[in-house]
């Protein structure tokens, strides 16, 4: 539903300016539905992790005494959820887009491989970001404010609302270098074959490592900080 409306706006824009940002109309529509498919697996509107609720309720005490890393444990849980949501929430919008507008389907298996690799890394990046947001509850005790902030940053700077190649000038360059671009814009460009494969994957791996690294540091810090609540 939302994807269809977004697609019409993008079509109107590309009809006014054909070839804008290196896309043609079909690419723009495809971009719209491919990114729509990312919403569920990457939880782009925020949430997906039970950690904030567990910190608030005090259940996190149990997680911390388990003989497994809290971060990897949560990552495993999230990756499973993402795989399930990719099938259930990801494929239907793409099929809908293909049925209503017709979308570009790459014929080259190499491009599919690049896209799936990029998508998998993007899920990890999205986890890394949401995990950091979740950890902040250890200090803030309430996740509503940061959740809205995260949603604003993620939807806007990832290309979810408009493709990042529409952002003008230096602002566009800046936005393209941020981790949110690596979640949505880069894997979508891999799907469309608009990005150099190895370079793009390298940027994604860089952000995945940075965010997971920060998450690991945060996990260590939260161990000393977290207040176990409940009676």
């Amino acid at each position: 539903m939302f994807g269809v409306l977004r697609a019409y706006v993008l079509i109107a824009l590309w009809q006014a300016r054909p070839g804008l940002g290196g896309y043609d109309v079909a690419d723009a529509v495809t971009f719209c539905f491919v990114t729509q498919a990312f919403i569920g697996p990457m939880q782009l509107f925020g949430g997906g992790l039970s950690l904030p609720e567990r910190i608030r309720s005090g259940d996190v005490a149990l997680d911390l005494v388990r003989p497994a890393s809290l971060q990897l444990w949560t990552l495993a849980e999230d990756a499973g959820r993402a795989a399930y949501l990719f099938v259930v929430r990801g494929l239907p919008p793409m099929l809908l887009g293909a049925a209503v507008f017709g979308i570009v389907v790459p014929a080259d298996p190499g491009r599919w491989a690049a896209f799936l690799a990029g998508f998998a890394i993007a899920v990890v990046i999205s986890f890394g970001w949401r995990y950091l947001i979740a950890l902040s509850v250890g200090w803030l005790l309430d996740d509503r404010g940061v959740a809205v902030l995260s949603m604003v940053l993620t939807t806007f700077f990832s290309g979810m609302l408009v493709p990042l190649n529409l952002f003008p000038g230096w602002f566009g360059d800046l936005v393209n270098a941020l981790p949110w671009a690596a979640m949505v814009q880069l894997p979508a460009d891999l799907y469309l074959g608009k990005a150099p494969v190895l370079e793009t994957l390298a940027v994604q791996v860089f952000w995945a490592v940075v965010l997971l690294g920060l998450g690991a540091l945060g996990t260590r810090a939260v161990r000393h900080k977290v207040v176990i609540q409940g009676g």
Binding site: Y8, L13, D142
Partner: protein, 262 residues
Amino acid sequence: MVRTYFLLAWTWTRAAAAYPASFALMVLLGFVAAALDVAVVLIIFANTTALAGFSREEVLFLYGAAGLSFTLCDTFVSNIDRVSQHIKAGTLDTFLIRPAGAWVQLTTDRFNPTRAGRVLQAAVVLGYAIAALGIGWERGWMIPVMVATGVVIFAALWTLAGAVQFVLTDAPEVTSAFTYGSNQLTQYPLAVYARDLVKGVTYVLPLAFVNWQPGLYVLDRDDPFGTPGAMRFLGPAAALVLALLAALAWRQGIRHYRSTGS
């Protein structure tokens, strides 16, 4: 009924204001989150001068008018969404035995005054667009009418969505696709959408009367889909019909409600 409404809304407002810092932050964040949609419009118009034949200020005008109606309803009516939770938990019973209408109680249920940030944002955009387009009173008189029409249409939609949940208890997502989807649909000139879709939102679900048809009058433009000029003034009538339907559906829903729980 109006007095009860404001009494209940005020009670929840006082509750929310008990944490002033969090309250202020939520108003501010609501403002910022809503401003994202405007940022999208601005980015689109950084790349083009006209979208489906409409200029940036005209799109912002349509956006602001629909946004003002929608955010007002989002603040004052959307709490009715929670009716599905109350049906599932069986807590709707307590609403029904209180000496006030169920609709009034549910629309003020956990009334959230921090949404005022979004209302303010839409009003600012609308005000800017009116000033930038230099709209005078000879056509501008329609603006308060269209905002009021929009409020009635969105309120009726939310009420219908609430009524449907008596039947589809487990599907609040289905109905929110309609309420929030309507908001997204009305943010842009309907000229960008396909003809069949526009027909649907004109004659079946009268969303075209929120801002599109009266907006064409205010902007003094012809409908690219070629509807006659008289359509510009049908908004209040369409809103009334939808409101009556919504009221009927809501009464049916309440009447057929069967309590759950032990």
